[in-house]
């Protein structure tokens, strides 16, 4: 094994599972804060690793509509859980973000100061999934729409690298294969790992996506991959795809556009609590509200942007009342936006198939099942 293989972008390397701590250390040595999966309060979440922290070993998750359980096994596998309730979005546009501060001067005047021009920390996100990468590509369009960009988002984005993992064990709620986003990372990663484990070996195939990724690999003991390693990695993804239980019906974009008045919207609204959980856990839902936070003396006020949800009545409030009064209309707005209008707005689906909204819906509403129900009673067949 040699650190002198000169592995380049596009190459794949193989490292022993025992070298994972060295990989984490290499990220630190390259100047990154490491953000990685952590088992906390019964779920896997991303958190910042302290010097003593390492990847959790031997965890599996069990997910279903409205249900999440984290199970500790005796095994040595590292990535046999998938996505938890928290996505990457809070690291790129935090739940509460100060936008600017205004200070009152004399006689009805005030000045407005831009936010602190703090440089964003350099962060390495370890253990993200293909659907997380796809979500970041979606978010990149949201916060840079060609006319306007969010400078705070761009700064954080520029200083982030992603070490992704191809999922070997999708949850029952995953449907990324049908959304063409996973389970294999196909773009947007700096390094992409595939866990290869059998009775004799426990190694990781590491695909190198960028220069930054290559530098990290050069610091870790590894060898270049051979065809049999790639073969094993392909088998992992193939069986993961085969295991995936859920899928999105094809043609959902056009389907929803012609089914605004489908009776299913009323049926689902009878179950939906309008709690907004689905929008909070969704890695791409971006709605926000703004409010002034004024000092007691009233001399300083800070405008703060915070996460919002299209499930609230306030979201569609205009003078005279909310436009989306019924829960039916709010659920329809959410699902149609995710799967259909997003295409018109950004040229991409707003849903990546991560399944979070299914797992974390308190009543277990399943976006794939709702889509299927609408497809089955399609009001107006596509004009052919």
């Amino acid at each position: 094994m040699s650190a002198e293989t000169g592995a380049l972008v596009g190459d794949s390397a193989v490292l022993e599972a025992t070298a994972l701590p060295a990989l984490i250390q290499a990220l630190r040595d390259e100047g990154y804060e490491v953000i990685g999966p952590t088992a906390r309060d019964g779920a896997i979440v991303f958190s910042e690793y302290g010097p003593a922290d390492s990847l959790p070993v031997g965890y599996e998750d069990s997910q279903e509509g409205g249900r999440y359980r984290l199970i500790k096994t005796a095994g040595r596998r590292v990535f046999d859980y998938v996505v938890g309730p928290k996505s990457l979005k809070e690291w790129f546009w935090p739940p509460r973000q100060p936008l600017w501060t205004a200070r009152r001067g004399g006689r009805g005047s005030y000045t407005i100061d831009p936010p602190d021009p703090k440089v964003a920390p350099r962060r390495a996100f370890v253990g993200v999934r293909a659907c997380d990468l796809a979500a970041m590509a979606v978010n990149d369009r949201t916060f840079d729409n060609g006319d306007f960009a969010d400078p705070a988002y761009l700064k954080r984005r520029d200083n982030a690298i992603f070490i992704s993992v191809d999922c070997a064990r999708p949850a029952a709620t995953c449907f990324c294969a049908s959304m063409n986003t996973g389970p294999r990372s196909s773009s947007g990663f700096d390094l992409a790992l595939t866990e290869l484990e059998d009775a004799d070996t426990h190694v990781f195939l590491v695909r190198i996506g960028t220069e930054a990724g290559a530098k990290v690999v050069a610091r870790v003991p590894h060898r270049l991959s051979v065809e049999s390693d790639l073969e094993r990695a392909r088998a992992v993804v193939t069986q993961a795809v085969a295991r995936m239980e859920r899928s999105m019906v094809p043609g959902i974009d056009a389907l929803l556009k012609r089914n605004f008045t489908h009776p299913r919207w009323t049926t689902v609204a009878e179950r939906c609590l309008s709690c907004g959980n689905c929008t909070m856990v969704c890695p791409t839902c971006f709605c926000s509200d703004v409010k002034d936070h004024t000092s007691l003396t009233g001399d300083v006020t800070t405008r703060v942007r915070s996460w919002d949800s299209c499930f609230t009545l306030d979201h569609s409030y205009v003078h005279g009342g909310a436009l989306r009064q019924s829960r039916m209309s709010r659920y329809r707005q959410w699902m149609t936006h995710k799967l259909s209008s997003w295409w018109d707005q950004f040229g991409v689906s707003g849903c990546t198939g991560c399944g979070r909204c299914i797992t974390w819906c308190p009543v277990g509403i399943d976006i794939t099942e709702e889509a299927r129900a609408i497809a089955e009673g399609d009001l107006t067949q596509a004009a052919e």
């Binding site: 729409n145 060609g146 063409n180 436009l323 209309s329 707005q345």
Partner: protein, 296 residues
Amino acid sequence: MDDVLLQEPSLAYAHTHTRAQDAAEPMLPRPFMIERRRKEAGGCFTLWLRDPTGQPFNFRVGQFNMLYVYGVGEVPISIAGDASDPSLLMHTIRGVGAVTDAMGRLKVGDTIGVRGPFGNGWPLDAAVGQDVFFVTSTVGLAPLRGLILETLARREEFGKVVLAYGSRGIHDCLYENDLHAWRARFDMTVYVTAHSAPIGYRGQVGSVAHLIERAEFDPPNTVAFVCRSEAMLPAAFAALEARGVAPDRFYTTMERNMKCAVGFCGHCQRGPTFMCRQGPVYRYSDIQHLFAVREL
């Protein structure tokens, strides 16, 4: 299943698109100074704002600004002024709630935050060589005022120029001076109707839709610009269609809750569009199908 493994990175998810040129803080208002204010009919007031740095404020008619009141909030307000004079911004506002009422209490010399201009604006060029028909009522005249001024400045490019305006009572027309001046012109027709009037009133009483029914213009060769509350729009659209103006020949504005005006907050969606970027002006034929859907 090999297709999943061999699949090229799906183009949609590749990081290919170019960045917004101006990665400046799009949420940062600029402090403007209130230079003049005027009380208007119908609970409205007009503010004239100047950038103390002396920078001109260029905009297209039909665009809007986000106006910010210290410690209270920020709301979308159309630009009512003349686009050919970028030195002074004009906004007409109706006090209906927290922010607009606070705006009403601002005095000459006070600071007000301005972000903008936003939105697409009125497509006046679509009306070149045609009759131009403006349809509005009460405070709806504000977003049309700049458009009317520009139409009159380019008067020779158009056929008939017609305005149908509805007020509540007989003494609450917005911009009464403007209405009188336009009425006095030989090259513009102004129809005014009051929703209600005392007995003995000799002017027109009734709805704007009635004005549309009898206004003189050449329907197949007319482009109409409509600015009414959303509840009143269907009646105006129906009257225009009944006169024979095709749905791809009329334009309208709409209002949605807006928190950012730059496409980040998600509030102003209507169907597939963000009203702050693809609106607030829409061609009726593009959104006609959405009007049939309630609570969209």
